[in-house]
Amino acid sequence: MRLFLILAALVLAVSSASAKEKQGCFGTAVDFVDTPKDAAKQALKEEKLVFVLHVSGYFEDPKLT
């Protein structure tokens, strides 16, 4: 039983770590998911709204973001 619990805890830790890695903030304070579709799915699950950034080029310009 104890072994099972330890294994379950390990699996949970690994899966949450990989989920965390999927999130990216690209040096900003905002966590971005990969696509707006993923954002919509997650937002529905978490009862949140969706924030979508549309950009065209020249992101090195700090004035943009």
């Binding site: 950009v55 992101f59 090195e60």
Partner: protein, 242 residues
């Protein structure tokens, strides 16, 4: 990086929104330099309907203020409309018209009903790009009726002066005949004007209008590409090696 590096803004966005990005439009490369580029931020419902938008780069305080407006208005709209989608849409469009009035002193009539005029994909008169995809729409904003008549000249001029200091300030005409006059609008005012008639439309129906008509950028006729916009850092924020 600017607004999005702000911790307070980031915390608020992360608490209330799930964020993502898309690359739209293009930029020119002249010699070794990139020219152009712009940004538009959309606050949407989970089914991709646009509740609010911010056109162009803004500071953290402005983006936070607009994000809070969306969250507060969604709460109020939910309370007022119950589970009625049509009432929710009407509430939101009216809220945009009210926001325009309080920020610039200008009045537009919110369009609270959409008649069904879907384009037929097989219709030979439907405009499409060379690859066969329909072109992004150019949605007409509702006309500006004129200044809020409840305002004194001094109060209206004060609001107009404030509007003139915001990004994208320009003249727009309002009224008809002898009453026609020029008033000051800015990017945010034009967004509120647009959304007082088109809020709760799908983002793919709105982004072309925002990017081309509000920001003056050219949207690529290619489909929206999902790419990494922050080319100089990886997903964890580490500086990318060249």
């Amino acid at each position: 990086m600017g607004a999005l590096t702000d911790e307070k803004l980031g915390a608020y966005i992360n608490d209330n929104f799930v964020s993502s990005y898309q690359k739209v439009g293009t930029f020119k490369i002249v010699g070794n330099n990139k020219q152009g580029g712009n940004v538009a931020s959309y606050f949407c419902s989970p089914d991709g309907r646009v509740l609010h938008a911010v056109a162009g780069p803004v500071d953290a305080a402005t983006l936070l203020r607009e994000a809070k407006w969306v969250v507060d208005t969604v709460k109020a709209a939910n309370k007022a409309s119950g589970s009625n989608g049509a009432k929710f849409k009407a509430y939101f469009r009216t809220a945009h018209a009210d926001k325009l009035k309080s920020e610039t002193g200008l009045v537009v009539s919110a369009v609270t009903y959409d008649f069904d005029d879907k384009q037929d994909d097989k219709d030979t008169l439907t405009y499409k790009d060379p690859s066969g995809r329909p072109l992004s729409l150019k949605l007409p904003p509702p006309p500006i009726d004129g200044p809020d008549v409840k305002l004194t000249d001094a109060a209206f001029n004060k609001l107009q002066g404030k509007a003139n200091e915001a990004p994208g300030a320009r003249y727009a005409s309002c009224g008809v005949g002898l009453g026609k006059k020029n008033v000051v609008v800015n990017n945010q005012a034009v967004i509120d004007q647009l959304l007082s008639a088109h809020a709760m439309m799908k983002i793919e129906s709105l982004y072309g209008t925002v990017f081309e008509n509000v920001l003056g950028e050219k949207v690529s006729t290619k489909p929206v590409d999902v790419t990494t916009p922050f080319t100089w850092v990886d997903r964890q924020g580490n500086k990318a090696s060249k």
